[in-house]
Symmetry: C2
Subunit: 335 residues, 2 copies
């Protein structure tokens, strides 16, 4: 690999001059600039970002803290958005190999050691100590779905509450009055906000809230299936079920059909996420579409703004969502 010294020698100038050409300094004569560029071309020279980073105390690298499995469809789409935003930014993505099981491991030290310019965090609870340190250390950070922010840390999430309220209203408009909710595990902001949305939706529709129609599971197919089983066992079965994920909705549908009922004729079901399969499988799942791709893109765009402008105020963003109506919701069967 040719270094800046090789280029300097080839062009017959100093390395300082080569550096100036590389960095588009104006105080270089056209003649010299040309000589240098020819040498660069000739030697197929490419500046070493690592060396440059050492002196600039930058790395043109964005770290990602992601312990959630890559197989999680939300993660996949998020990464797709992140990738898109990164593509022409000059930054590369580094997945930090974290070791939270090792008590001596420090995520911040890791970031500093790698010189990452900023970090995107998804799927860590706000109780994760490393995460807290991140905001006090004032390393540029974008939190996705983790309700944390600070002087150098922004927060972006979906309008969870509003989304679920929309689903409830949709069922209400179809004549449903017995509307159940299969929540995800409560605790994380995302789950709590969605539950709020369920209650708010009912309130707006003048339907009393009852915990009888509230089930909690882990967002999975099996979880949704079991939750639906319990709901169907009620003497007063719900006619509509709102779910906190597409997977739990798929599980619920499976269970409903196992009980000899039909979706949507007997029971309507609404999902959450609008994953690929919601569209592809039949019947198409009525569900909330989160702009995950957009969340991924924005998290990077804002992160880069923060990185490149120390005075930039980190954003707190609630990304809108929308209800995609397909074939799993229909007018209520009986009043």
């Amino acid at each position: 690999m040719a270094s800046i010294h090789d280029v300097a020698k080839e062009a017959g100038v100093s390395v300082a001059t080569v550096s100036k050409v590389l960095n588009d300094y104006p105080d270089v004569s056209d003649k010299t600039r040309k000589k240098v560029n020819i040498a660069i071309e000739l030697l197929k020279y490419q500046p070493n970002v690592v060396a440059r980073g050492l002196v600039k105390r930058r790395s043109w690298t964005v770290g990602v803290l992601l312990t959630v499995p890559f197989t999680n469809p939300f993660v996949s789409e998020l990464l797709e958005g992140i990738k898109t935003a990164l593509e022409n930014s000059g930054y590369d993505l580094v997945r930090l190999s974290t070791r939270f099981d090792d008590p001596t491991y420090s995520f911040i030290k890791h970031c500093r050691s790698r010189n990452v310019d900023g970090v995107v965090v998804f799927g860590e609870g706000r109780d994760n100590k490393s995460i807290q340190e991140l905001v006090t250390a004032e390393i540029p950070t974008m939190f996705i779905d983790t309700d944390l922010f600070g002087k150098r840390a922004g927060y972006i999430t979906t309008d969870n509450a509003n989304a679920i309220a929309m689903s409830v209203k949709h069922l209400h408009e179809l004549g449903h009055r017995k509307i159940a909710y299969i929540s995800g595990t409560l605790g994380p902001a995302v789950a709590n906000l969605r539950l709020d949305g369920y209650r708010e939706g009912l309130r707006v529709c003048d339907i009393p809230y009852s915990t009888v129609y509230l089930e909690v599971c882990d967002y999975s197919f099996d979880g949704g299936s079991k939750a639906a089983r319990r709901l169907l066992a009620l003497k007063d079965q719900p006619t509509g079920i709102v779910c906190a994920s597409d997977m739990s909705a798929f599980g619920a549908i499976h269970e409903i059909e196992k009980h000899g009922l039909r979706v949507p004729e007997d029971v309507s079901v609404v999902g959450f996420d609008n994953t690929y399969y919601a569209e592809v499988f039949k019947p198409g799942l009525t569900t909330i579409n989160q702009n995950i791709h957009s969340i991924g893109i924005k998290s990077i765009e804002y992160l880069i703004l923060m990185i490149e402008n120390p005075a930039y105020t980190p954003p707190v963003i609630t990304e809108p969502s929308n209800l995609v109506i397909r074939q799993t919701t229909a007018p209520a069967n009986n009043g």
Copy 2:
């Protein structure tokens, strides 16, 4: 951030000595070692990998060339394996933001500029020029599913041919004789090998090969669906269909049911991939399980071996697969 100089000053020794402690050199007295370690502790010092990398011409970083969408389920699982293997290796993963649309872009230069120690490639055709350069440049590389290898480049893939042959034999054992194959787009090694496997399977089962029963699509739900429609339009409908992906199998099943036929009573269907949904959805899909996770792990393990031992001969690996029998295959309806 404390630097090695701060530690040296704090401990009252030279930076050279601190460096020796850091790198476990034996020629340091216990007393000095202790002083240094205390200073490190005190200052919460963490060596800067980037600076170290500059002198060692290493980065403890593995680059990944991945232009296939993250939403591709194969990619997700692959990354999960890669992540697992990386977790305690001391290496971090860098996704290089490639720009193949830019004619001046060079993937190798990018790798060199970032100082990555090795790279994992998935989803690029062997005709990609950047890829070819990679093997001639002798940068440690593991190719996944791309049939390329060299002095410093290994290749790992699933036993594609054998896998499809297994599916054919499975159907044959169930009494099927009219066995169709819905292939993925031909050209890439993976698709070609699977087609070879179909023909080999038929041969072993003494069933004549006919292009009438061969359909080609793009691995998608829609593609599988359309391919199945054409097969069902034949006067001599197949009773068993082998597919090159789970998604095309799902599409085929959907089409079969739309024709008023039942799976598996009327037509048996076999998928390929054993994605999450193959297990979760009902009826469970009989399919080929690829050890994608294992492929991800091995690609990293071998890559690191290659990186850390210049004499290591890059491996060419065919990872075994296995048939997972669920509910979409059954004895043939009629002889």
